[in-house]
């Protein structure tokens, strides 16, 4: 059995699976039940001046039979008084001293406000803080959350204010609603952050009702943008984690959040540089018990790979993530159809014919049956046919021996001044 414990920026946790700051971590009752179920840590629902919420506030985007492929919300931070949350954090920590409790915080961008909340919350024994610079709705209209998180100077300053008084590590949670997340990540590091976490939710409108013409969700016939999360956002979150992980100026641990639904997702985030993961939507969809499978799956995976600990996994794919300009222009793959497994549904042919490179030929065999064959010389290896193919293994993408590697950057250098020993003096 591998060692699942992590030491994330000095915060010790029995495993890398934390509940993200959200409805699942709203109360001591819930967090304690989550710890009993096996979660290694919980980031408490964001503390701040107690707010009020609206009804309704969630929407699911269901896709092709999968419920909650995406999830949208217009909920704000905690609506419970600080005193009550602090009492419950204290009790929960006492009952589960080895589990991780992080307090998520959000206050106005004023030094005294940050000092006050950090001191009050630290006194009940949290393992660290997470500064919420990500909430895209409601709080942002009051200059908090994403409104702060979109301005690098404010991220830096507020991180500094929290760090001025915090004795435990400070994680800065970033908004994805920004052009370049490394800019705010860097600002957090400049402000003294011990770690960063990403992503919070993405600005979204889940849908519009075709009968009533109301937005989904709506509040008495009116809607507002919400935050998007769940499986649909994983590729966006993974990219943002990877961009920060490969940036040498952002030299702090990363907590990966956004669409983590099972152990495989968690491993992907960790391979791309996350020191641990946080989960919200999957827990809201299936309940706390999903962590059992996450723990077992990760354990088996590490054993299969011959790794002793989670830490041996972290960042292993980061060197493989680069810029387009570093990719080899001479690398070539082509599609090959396995007639044994192909069910002749014709999807690949249509995709290639209509929207790719017209290189899947429909041929007739001697026995009169039809079969498909890729005209490999014209195939650009775009992958489309294998993506649309409904049968696993019916299309393989095969690597073709090619010329020696040359990247776009090398090409740019080469064609600028093609030095070939011939004088151009005419």
């Amino acid at each position: 059995m591998a060692d699942l414990r992590i030491n994330f920026a000095g915060i010790k946790s029995p495993n890398p699976f934390w509940l993200a700051s959200a409805p699942p971590t709203n109360s001591g009752y819930q967090v304690q039940r989550a710890f009993e179920a096996g979660w290694g840590g919980a980031v408490w629902k964001t503390l701040g001046e107690p707010i009020l919420n609206i009804s309704s506030r969630f929407a699911g985007t269901h896709f092709n039979g999968q419920r909650m492929a995406g999830f949208n919300n217009t909920e704000l931070i905690t609506d419970r008084p600080l005193e009550v949350n602090l009492k419950e954090i204290y009790e929960t920590k006492k009952r589960f001293p080895n589990h991780t409790i992080i307090a998520s915080l959000m206050v106005e961008p004023q030094q005294e406000k940050w000092h006050e909340i950090v001191k009050r919350v630290e006194a009940v024994g949290v393992d660290g803080f997470e500064l919420n610079f990500g909430c895209p709705h409601g709080m942002a209209e009051r200059g908090m959350g994403a409104a702060s998180g979109q301005v690098p100077e404010l991220v830096e300053k507020q991180t500094m204010w929290a760090k001025e008084v915090a004795e435990t590590p400070v994680i800065v949670k970033l908004t994805p609603n920004i052009t370049d997340i490394t800019a705010t990540a860097y600002a957090a590091v400049q402000g003294g952050a011990d770690a960063i976490s990403m992503i919070n939710t993405i600005n979204s409108l889940a849908g519009v009702d075709l009968d009533t013409w109301n937005t989904i969700p709506h509040v008495a016939g009116k809607g507002a943008h919400g935050g998007y999360c769940g499986p649909a956002v994983k590729p966006i979150a993974l990219n943002m984690v990877a961009e920060c992980a490969r940036n040498s100026t952002i030299n702090v641990p990363i907590s990966g959040i956004g669409g983590v639904s099972d152990w495989r997702d968690a491993v992907e985030f960790m391979l791309m540089g996350a020191g641990g993961v946080q989960v919200c939507t999957a827990a809201m969809h299936h309940g706390f018990s999903i962590v059992e499978d996450m723990v077992d799956g990760l354990n088996n995976y590490l054993d299969d790979k011959g790794l002793d600990s989670v830490e041996d996994l972290v960042g292993k794919s980061v060197p493989k993530y680069s810029d387009w300009g570093d990719l080899d222009l001479n690398y070539k793959t082509v599609a090959r159809i396995n007639t044994d497994t192909c069910i002749n549904c014709n999807k690949c042919h249509i995709a290639c014919e209509d929207t790719a490179h017209q290189c899947i030929d429909m041929l007739t065999a001697k026995d009169g049956s039809n079969y498909l064959k890729v005209h490999e010389e014209d195939c650009v290896g775009c992958n489309l046919c294998s993506i649309v193919c409904p049968v696993d293994g019916a299309i393989d993408m095969i690597e073709i021996p090619s010329d020696e590697p040359m990247t776009w950057k090398e090409r740019e250098t080469a064609i600028k001044q093609p030095s070939c020993g011939i004088s151009l003096v005419k």
Binding site: E377, S419, S423
Partner: protein, 78 residues
């Protein structure tokens, strides 16, 4: 609608032109990439020590990789 010419056949045609110039001792001396394709200048020094120049307009993306690889190799070899 008639299908466009096979991408690969177009590449082979352009590659042949490049290889032909190469076999005659021409080497790429300038590249000018425009909206109308890449204009690639080939030069050679004749036995009479004269500079001869040819230009090809190359349209195919695989040819653009091909001639760039030739230059890249040339430069690496020097």
């Amino acid at each position: 609608m008639e299908r466009p010419m096979s991408h690969h056949k177009e590449f082979l045609g352009e590659k042949e032109k490049i290889d032909n110039l190469y076999s005659k001792g021409y080497r790429i001396t300038a590249v000018n990439e425009t909206l109308s394709g890449a204009f690639v200048e080939f030069s050679r020094i004749t036995e009479e020590k004269e500079l001869e120049t040819e230009e090809l307009q190359l349209l195919n993306p695989d040819t653009r990789i091909y001639f760039s690889t030739l230059i890249h190799k040339q430069q690496k070899a020097q």
